[in-house]
């Protein structure tokens, strides 16, 4: 596959030994910038995603919202979430957030994934699922602070946005970016996007009166490679539950990387123990049953 050739791998899930070729060359860290303040929820990005990734049609049902479906799905990786929010001054906001994989610098899915090579983080920041290695355990689902990986019951694999790693590997921007008619989506290096986002946030603060406008790039997971400009960066939860301080469950960090291996060593002590026991103490053999004592021989009688 092309992207494997052109994208430098940085982290691989469940992989023995060091990541092959890590650190050989430095790819630029890429980033998608979503300006939630100019998104009009037109869903052109949703269509572009479905078309580029050849995702099969899925019947949907009306669910009291403009949102195409409640959450992203295994065959729907890019979903604009609509949330109505009434501000303190009584004015209404209709917050639209393009939901997709955030491509975390410290990906919870990858941490949780036990399968070798099923989740890969490239040096450019893209976190990609390789379904051929996926074992369908769905731990990534619980490891993700953004509820992104989705299970396909038919193939028993998990899928999510790849940030169009195939396109990025070819030097292109993701499909959603090129589709955006209002230009609220941008793609470039993390540095550039961060700067662009900050400039826009400043404009929002200075000109548009959103005093809490800011950039969402949560530090708690080392930042993400999809960042948002929000009207109210202090309350990202308003945007259909964007977590303020996303975190990876203890289970997949300290437990999985430290305590679990220690535990395994502990368990194998049982084996060591029994070996030692056998060697130093030896087996406990069955004792032949002694027949009931015979009547006492006459005193002084010598047996020998």
């Amino acid at each position: 596959m092309t992207e494997r050739r052109t994208l430098q791998t940085e982290q691989i899930s469940g992989h023995p030994g060091p990541v092959p070729g890590m650190g050989m060359q430095r790819n630029l860290e890429v980033c998608k910038l979503i300006d939630a303040t100019t998104c009009i929820g037109c869903k052109a990005c949703e269509v572009a995603c479905v078309e580029w990734n050849d995702l099969p049609f899925q019947p949907t049902t009306f669910d009291n919202t403009y949102q195409t479906m409640p959450e992203t799905n295994w065959n729907y990786w890019n979903l604009i979430k609509f949330r109505e929010h009434q501000r303190e001054d009584g004015t209404l906001m209709w917050l639209m957030r393009k939901d997709q994989c955030m491509h975390c610098a410290d990906p919870g899915c990858l941490a949780a994934c036990p399968a070798d090579g099923a989740i890969v983080k490239y040096a450019n920041g893209i976190v990609d699922f390789h379904q051929e290695n996926c074992i369908g355990c769905e731990f990534c689902v619980s490891g993700c602070p953004f509820n992104i990986p989705k299970f396909n019951p038919a193939t028993k694999k998990v899928y999510k946005c790849t940030l169009c790693s195939d396109r990025v590997g070819q030097g292109l921007e993701p499909a959603c970016i090129k589709a955006c008619p209002t230009g609220c989506l941008h793609f470039g290096t993390k540095e550039d996007m961060k700067m662009l986002a900050e400039t826009r946030a400043k404009q929002l603060r200075d000109v548009s009166g959103f005093k809490d406008a800011g950039v969402y790039d949560p530090e708690s997971i080392g930042g993400t490679h999809v960042i948002y400009v929000l009207h109210d960066a202090k309350n990202p939860e308003l945007y259909s539950g964007l977590p303020k301080d996303p975190s990876i469950p203890f289970a997949y960090k300290a437990w999985k990387s430290i305590f679990k291996p220690l535990g395994l060593i502990g368990a194998t002590l049982g084996f060591v123990g029994v070996v030692f026991h056998y060697v130093f103490e030896g087996p406990k053999r069955e004792q032949p049953e002694v027949p009931p004592p015979k009547p006492e021989p006459p005193a002084g009688r010598k047996e020998l």
């Binding site: 572009a48 396109r167 070819q170 030097g171 090129k178 589709a179 008619p181």
Partner: protein
């Protein structure tokens, strides 16, 4: 909008690296690409020298007349030597002959062939190899404003285009042409023949082959000319001038089907 030169800023390293990559990917073109890589490395020196000497073009005179300068001419012997050593048979032979000539004759050769329609094909190769980087530098340095220009000839030096490029614009690919002389890249509309201005979409077929997903032949049935286009919306890693060379089989196919290229590339393809 084609506002700045950043997208066309010459990056010789990239060209050389890409030639190496493509040679591995397309073995059929390995010889051509290998030689191109050598030439590009040579050209880089002239470009760097021109930059170091802080040369400028006189905006009042045609660029083509201002190319033969010491920075280029002085490196001509090196080029001859390089071609003799690494070039294909025909060029190597020509190089051996050129080695015998005097610097004045070289100068004359360069001047004669720095204009379009230069006579001898091999001589034209030597002139282009030597003068292109100078032209490229001077064009880059000239800061000629051509945003909004959409004609068929190079807005800087007036030469013919040698290939076309599709760059991402929204959902589509915006076309630009690359000058055969100074490698300036300027916007040019889609569905329009750069040679005869044919606009009838039925007469402007685009031929492509699976071997080269990002390169296609943009032909015109009216004038029977064509250019190849390198589609950066399909492959953003492509370096247009190099990828165009790698897709040489498309040129052969086009030739076989009666199409003539508007301007051959440096490798004569």
């Amino acid at each position: 909008m084609n506002n700045g030169r950043d997208m066309t800023r010459p990056d010789w390293e990239k060209r050389i690296r890409r030639a190496r990559e493509l040679a591995a990917q397309y073995p059929a073109a390995a010889e051509v690409l290998g030689f191109y890589g050598e030439i590009a490395a040579f050209q880089r020196e002239i470009f760097v020298a021109a930059a170091a000497e802080n040369l400028h073009a006189d905006p009042m005179r045609p660029l083509g007349e201002q190319l033969v300068r010491p920075a280029a001419l002085g490196r001509f012997p090196a080029l001859v030597e390089l071609v003799e050593k690494k070039g294909p048979a025909g060029l190597a032979q020509a190089a051996r002959e050129l080695r015998q000539e005097t610097p004045d004759e070289w100068r004359a050769l360069l001047i004669k062939n720095s204009q379009p329609n230069g006579s001898d094909l091999t001589h034209r190769f030597f002139a282009r190899a030597c003068l292109q980087p100078m032209a490229e530098y001077l064009a880059f340095d000239s800061k000629v404003q051509f945003s909004g220009y959409s004609g068929p000839l190079c807005p800087v030096c007036g030469d013919k285009p040698q290939l076309s490029v599709l760059r991402p614009e929204g959902d589509g690919g915006k076309r630009s042409l690359v000058c055969s002389c100074c490698a300036t890249e300027w916007d040019f509309r889609r569905i329009l023949c750069p040679n005869c201005a044919e606009e009838d979409h039925g007469k402007l077929p685009r031929f492509s082959a699976e071997d080269f997903p990002h390169v296609r032949v943009e032909a015109c049935e009216t004038c029977k000319r064509y250019l190849k286009s390198v589609d950066l919306t399909t492959n953003g890693l492509a370096v247009p001038v190099v990828d165009e060379i790698a897709a040489a089989p498309l040129d052969l196919w086009a030739a076989e089907h009666g199409y003539q290229k508007i301007e051959l590339n440096l490798m004569g393809l």
